[in-house]
């Protein structure tokens, strides 16, 4: 009996962890692509995720749209904002010291958070229920329809992304720019356009994650992006920053570990666990689980 309930608890936490983890994975993809191309920790990325959730909230409550159009609109709107941010705040600093760009990213992040508070008030809002909740039981483990939607949508998006990166011209250009920006430019690739495109894709994926979180937890607020943003970055580092499959794996691993820590140890240590993993990974395998070791140029 003891063993049985333990296994049941473990299975339940695994399910919760995987659905949470696929959300981290979606955000981490944006981090990893942007970092891979312009070597910038885009602190504003977590707030794009919040933006996506709010766009979906307003399109579903004010315009009474259903889930899918709301999701697509949120992705498109956030992609646009992502591109605008890059244009206005990061592009002028292309050759500036790294720390200045990082401070700018922090500034943009604060602007989105507190500007958002001005516009939509700091109070959390209840995200509308977009489909009836159904629960399925598999041998004592409960899976609800939201978790299935999260899994299906994030898997679909990851498949599309993999296709875009590996089988389209712009994907090839993205890989080329991230491998060697100067050489790519010499080969006639419009680097600025590729960077804009990367921001658009990353922001769109983060927005999708925001909508899914809204559906899952039924609550959104202007500061909701801060912690998931940081943790998604941890996920990106865990998988090997700049590596797309790494970000996916890192997100899922982080989600599962978090669920296990909060299920079996204490939920207050959940956030510490994420950062603890980060430190351990950085100390023993700084290039991440799937990253390649890059020799330093002297």
């Amino acid at each position: 009996m003891e063993v049985n309930s333990f296994l049941q608890q473990l299975g339940q936490q695994l399910i919760n962890g995987i659905s949470l983890g696929s959300i981290y994975a979606l955000i981490a993809l944006g981090y990893t692509m942007v970092y891979g191309i312009i070597r910038l920790i885009n602190f504003a990325h977590g707030d794009i995720y919040m933006l996506g959730a709010y766009i979906a909230y307003f399109t579903t409550t004010v315009f009474k749209l259903s889930f899918l159009p709301a999701l697509l609109l949120a992705m498109a709107g956030s992609a646009l904002v992502g591109v605008l941010i890059e244009r206005a705040a990061y592009r002028p600093l292309r050759n500036a010291p790294k720390i200045a760009v990082l401070i700018t990213a922090i500034g943009v992040s604060l602007l989105l958070e507190y500007g958002g508070m001005l516009l939509v008030t700091p109070q959390p809002r209840t995200f509308p229920t977009l489909f009836t909740t159904m629960t399925f039981k598999f041998g004592g483990i409960i899976v609800n329809s939201q978790q299935i939607v999260i899994l299906v949508v994030s898997l679909l998006l990851m498949v599309v992304l993999t296709y875009v990166v590996h089988h389209t011209k712009i994907g090839k250009a993205m890989r080329a720019v991230s491998y060697d920006t100067d050489a790519a430019r010499l080969m006639g690739i419009n680097v600025d356009r590729v960077i804009s495109f990367t921001f658009a894709i990353g922001s769109g994926l983060a927005a999708a994650a925001g909508v899914l979180v809204g559906v899952y937890y039924n609550s959104i607020d202007p500061l909701m992006g801060v912690m998931p943003g940081l943790k998604a970055f941890v996920a990106a580092v865990l998988g090997g920053i700049g590596v797309i499959p790494g970000a996916m794996a890192g997100g899922v691993i982080l989600g599962v570990i978090e669920a296990l820590v909060s299920g079996f140890i204490s939920s207050t240590f959940r956030d510490a666990a994420a950062f603890g993993i980060l430190i351990i990974i950085l100390l023993f395998k700084p290039s991440g689980l799937m990253g390649k070791n890059v020799r330093e140029k002297v």
Binding site: V101, G115, A272
Partner: protein, 319 residues
């Protein structure tokens, strides 16, 4: 060499004059409670930004977890003065030493990392420190450590700030400090020249962390409370912003950055909902138009003033 000492004496004299004027203004209550709070905050912020500048600006190690060390100092000193009835000076020293020790222990393994990786690791460590404190019931857990006596006065804050600045200035101008700067300029070349880079990185990190601890002690003994929410990564960003705004590698820049940002946030205090929006816009605009900070890596010095008065001997060929 002699002129440097003379300059130091001039600066010391000028500082004491500044102290006397401000203390006088406090005595006659020209500076009220609100501005007194901000004057003390400026002193604390100068300690924080100068000590972070030692790590980020002079040694070139990108650390963004300074608030964690501040938290250690704040809590450790609070425990000493509340639970053990120690005098304030002992509490401050213990806060500084404790944070410094932690900085040493953390710095030894993490400073092997470079650039962004070090940044994100220190950010994570800062958060781990905060979450750990949050989970210790002995120091109040999530509701914070309350009932700390208000020992921090303007006099304490000002003279500790002065001590910090002189300490860091003299450190930078010593052979150890030069070694730290060589690590910033080119780590591989420094190593090839026989500089023990690990030693100097850890040394700068430890010194920076201990002064952050001292600032934390002053902070908690002014606000009666040490609360985990005061030491989130947002506070680390705040300190980093002061450093970058003033100029990485400029001690006078750190002072200017701390004063400017504290004033900006004080001036915006009456518009709470607009405060952070304006603050963030200022950050972005400043970075876009002056990414190297106000002073760059130059120091504002008496030499600059003596240029106007016509005197002033050149002490070094540099600049």
């Amino acid at each position: 060499m002699n002129t440097t000492k003379k300059n130091d004496l001039y600066i010391l004299g000028a500082s004491i004059l500044v102290y006397a004027v401000i203390q006088g203004l406090i005595e006659v209550e020209f500076i009220g409670a609100f501005w007194l709070l901000n004057v003390i905050l400026i002193c604390i912020n100068v300690i924080l930004s100068a000590s972070l500048n030692l790590i980020n600006g002079f040694t070139g190690q990108f650390s963004i977890g300074h608030a964690g060390f501040m938290a250690v100092g704040a809590y450790l000193s609070a425990v000493l003065s509340v639970k053990m009835q120690m005098p304030f000076l002992v509490a401050i020293l213990a806060g500084g030493l404790g944070a410094g020790f932690l900085g040493f222990v953390i710095g030894l393994p993490t400073l092997r990392l470079r650039g962004d990786y070090l940044a994100i690791a220190t950010l994570g460590l800062g958060e781990i420190i905060r979450i750990t404190i949050l989970n210790i019931p002995y120091v109040g857990g999530a509701s914070g450590f309350m009932g700390i006596p208000r020992h921090t006065t303007f006099t304490w804050a000002f003279f500790i700030m002065l001590f910090t600045l002189f300490f860091i200035k003299n450190f930078i101008n010593s052979s150890h400090g030069r070694a730290c700067i060589s690590v910033r300029e080119n780590e591989i070349a420094a190593e090839a020249m026989g500089v023990d880079t690990t030693k100097y990185k850890v040394l700068a990190f430890t010194i920076g962390a201990s002064f952050a601890g001292v600032a934390g002690a002053l902070f908690s003994h002014y606000f009666y409370i040490a609360h985990p929410a005061s030491f989130t990564f947002m506070r680390s960003f705040d300190i980093l912003t002061m450093v970058v705004l003033g100029g990485l590698g400029s001690l006078t820049g750190s002072i200017a950055g701390a004063i400017l940002l504290t004033f900006i946030s004080a001036a915006l205090a009456s518009y709470p909902e607009w405060r952070m929006v304006i603050y963030s816009l200022l950050l972005i605009i400043l970075m876009l138009y002056r990414p190297q900070g106000i002073f760059g890596s130059k120091e504002l010095s008496l030499k600059l003033f003596s240029r106007f008065t016509g005197g002033g001997k050149r002490e070094h060929a540099k600049d």
